[in-house]
Amino acid sequence: MPQHTSSPRRSPRLPRLLLGALLAGALLPAWAADLRIGLSSDVTSLDPHFVNIAPNIAFSDHIFDTLVKSDAKGKLVPGLAESWRALSPTTWEFKLRQGVVFSDGTPLTAEDVVFSLDRPATIQNSPGPFTSYTNQIVKKEAIDAHTVHLHTASAYGPLPLDLISIYVVSKKAAENATTEDFNTGKALIGTGPFKFAAFRKGESIEVTRNERHWGKRPEWDKVSFRILASGAPRLSALLAGDVDVIENVPAADLARLKTNSQVTLAQHTTWRTLFWQLDQFRDQSPFVTDHAGKPLDKNPLKDLRVRQAISKAINRQALVDRSLEGLAVPASNINAPGIFGYNDAIKVDAYDPEGARKLLAEAGYPDGFSLTIHGTNNRYINDEQVVQTVAQFLNRVGIRTKVDTQPVATYFGKARAHEYSFALLGWGSLAADFTLRSIAGTPNPDTGWGTWNWGKYSNPKVDELVAGALAAVEPAERERLAREAAGVALTDLAVIPSHHQLATWALRKGFAYDGRIDEFTFAHEIRSVR
């Protein structure tokens, strides 16, 4: 029988406890440190290794820790591992922090770490397993209680980055636990800042402070998360005082909230970068025609001058100010500024419709051509508006553009089947070499390269540089190669970068949050202010 299940014999003590709590509440109203957060998407499972989707990961971070963590800006910092280094190109050593205990009192050891790295591969029926973060590791060794060696088959630089996604669970609690045991809280034993209290699927989750947590002590005794998926009700819950903090503030309401003295806003540039993928492999692209609707004899999107013309035709500042209501910044890269491998030598293309027309004429399209562009209507900030506005800009330089937007459920499937000619995608990653491998690498399903390269862009130079970066275990060398790869791919306009999204949180007076590049809402980083 696990220790944490409460025994019915304890119930007679309950009235006294309640009385005490009431008294404390009456005497110390100012310190009633509860925090209520309105989340914008549903947490589907509390098992930190079940399915790799953002809302689940964001919740796991309250209960569990990872070996390596990323700070609010996306920089890697020590988590449960105090330090790490590559002993050889294929062997990494992680030194665990001393004196860390789980919320049930058992100390953390290298055994728990090895168990946690093994576990994702054992999860059955997960549609989005975490195994892509553990696949590279061919052997795991617990050298002593606080040292772990990880071996990879070949040199693999991003291993520490992969490990920010694998939460360390207690071997004792999770060894024979099912996903359901995590949802009931039975197996939910971690080293993180909070402990599990209650979970009502699709509705709310409650946690209380973990007094045994090794790191900074969070301010809140109790945190409740409410799932408020649609924007308007989420905002009105904040305005009505039902929650203290909300994430993902609806764009249209920002102007009004800025003038509301009861609410403060927190904003942060996020890793999510939006760009256009162009068909660069077909000679006749399905959605590119002449003005009469007949197919062209060649695919203009394959011509660099046409891609440059398109990039110059987009007024990114107007797009960001008008269609996105200031909730983004113009992009020149496919990763946000400050992210590993960001190439600041590449500048945002200036709005130049004249230059665009000239380039189109040079490429043999003085009268432009006709195009249908595709995008989502429920995935990114104002995505439907963005697609229409870009169509406006293209129309002005002679490319007669139509718009087709779809819900993401139908959109991704078609886009991944390469059905579109010109399609919008948003991508969030903490390293440029990773992004480039998926977006601009020559597609090869066996190796996982170019899995989201919808336009099948292919450039041997980019492939070579990205491969070099991924194999570099020395961070400085890896960053140099990643930057160079980004430079080559973007000069060639492998994709046309559009903008980096901002994330916005709204907080009631008295609460403060700095925001995070990964868009997560962490209760342990929310503070009270006077």
Partner: protein, 326 residues
């Protein structure tokens, strides 16, 4: 009667079968859930392993065959996204939707029938005309728009009622119910009103037209001429006449209230099955969608059965299909 019930039971089983096939193939055609869920960096081997584990690597008819075999044993499969049995997921949320739908139905009937009667008995009075004009407004405005207006007025500006969610719940019979406490009623009021508005208009109109027709029928005219008390005329003859359309609507609408609570639930963040369905469709969580629809069909055919039996009880001219074997 027994024959009739047996036949209906058999028909229901057929309906469930056809329905499951349609939905299964339908969702299959919409898209592949793995496109959205598998990590973008996954290799082909990873994707293949996931597809195999979930049975998604098989052709659709094999998948359906497996589903059917399991369904016959009472297992409708696990949600892709939640990893728990789909049916359990739905049953956990069913009380929330039932509470919402029943509240909405009560509002529609308890307000609609008296208002409709009044308007039908006094068609030329100002009050009667106002009621009918109001009912036109009731179905003129799209549900989502009304919902947002209600939130803006009652939660944001006046601050009287909560903007969404369900309030604290209590566990009875292994399910969580919120209407056992006052807080729950406060939460349900706005969404129930929102959901009820359209049905309210419908009940008012049907009651009104039924009343007017009844008053012109020979037996009512006769009763009036005989000097029967108006109260008794309304109570017995008129009410009986309007019961058939009203029961049809109430019966039909209850099924649709449950099925179409999607919009209200998503606006008011009401954690019911409508919202679960919408999320599951968005993420192509097929087991949940299929289980949801099967459950709705089941509930619906049961209600339809009850409506038919009531028809027969109320109107002797209607015979039950089973008793009429040609």
């Amino acid at each position: 009667m027994t024959l009739f019930l047996l036949r209906r039971l058999l028909q229901t089983v057929n309906v469930l079968f056809i329905m499951s096939l349609l939905v299964f193939v339908g969702i299959y055609a919409v898209g592949n859930p793995l496109d959205m869920l598998v990590d973008p960096q996954a290799t082909r081997a990873d994707v293949a392993r996931v597809a195999a584990a979930l049975g998604l690597d098989q052709p659709v008819w094999v998948q359906y065959g497996r589903f059917l075999a399991n369904a016959l044993r009472g297992d409708l499969g696990n949600s892709f996204l939640h990893g728990t049995p789909a049916l359990q997921l739905i049953l956990q949320r069913l009380p929330a939707t039932l509470e919402l739908a029943v509240s909405a139905l009560l509002i529609a009937v308890l307000l609609g029938i008296p208002l409709g009667l009044w308007a039908g008995l006094r068609p030329d009075s100002a009050s009667g005309k106002t009621i009918m004009a109001g009912s036109i407004l009731g179905f003129s405005l799209p549900t989502f728009w009304v919902g947002l207006m209600l939130i803006m007025v009652f939660s944001v500006y006046l601050g009287w009622l909560p903007s969404g969610g369900r309030g604290p719940t209590r566990e009875v019979l292994g399910m969580h119910w919120s209407l056992l406490g006052a807080e729950g009623w406060r939460h349900v009021l706005l969404p129930a009103l929102n959901l009820a508005l359209f049905k309210l208009a419908l009940v008012i109109r049907l009651t009104q037209s039924g009343t007017r027709e009844a008053l012109l029928q020979d037996y009512v005219r006769f009763a009036r001429a005989k000097g029967l008390a108006p109260r008794r005329i309304v109570g017995v003859h008129v009410l009986k006449n309007i019961m058939i359309p009203v029961i049809t609507v109430v019966g039909l609408e209850f099924g649709t209230l449950i099925a179409f609570s999607v919009v209200t639930e998503s606006i008011f963040a009401w954690p019911g099955i409508g919202k679960l369905l919408l999320d599951s469709i968005t993420l192509l969580d097929r087991p949940v969608v299929v289980a949801y629809l099967l459950l709705i069909v089941l509930i619906y055919t049961l209600i339809s059965l009850v409506v038919d039996v009531l028809y027969a009880a109320l109107d002797p001219r209607v015979r039950l299909a089973g008793g009429q074997a040609a």
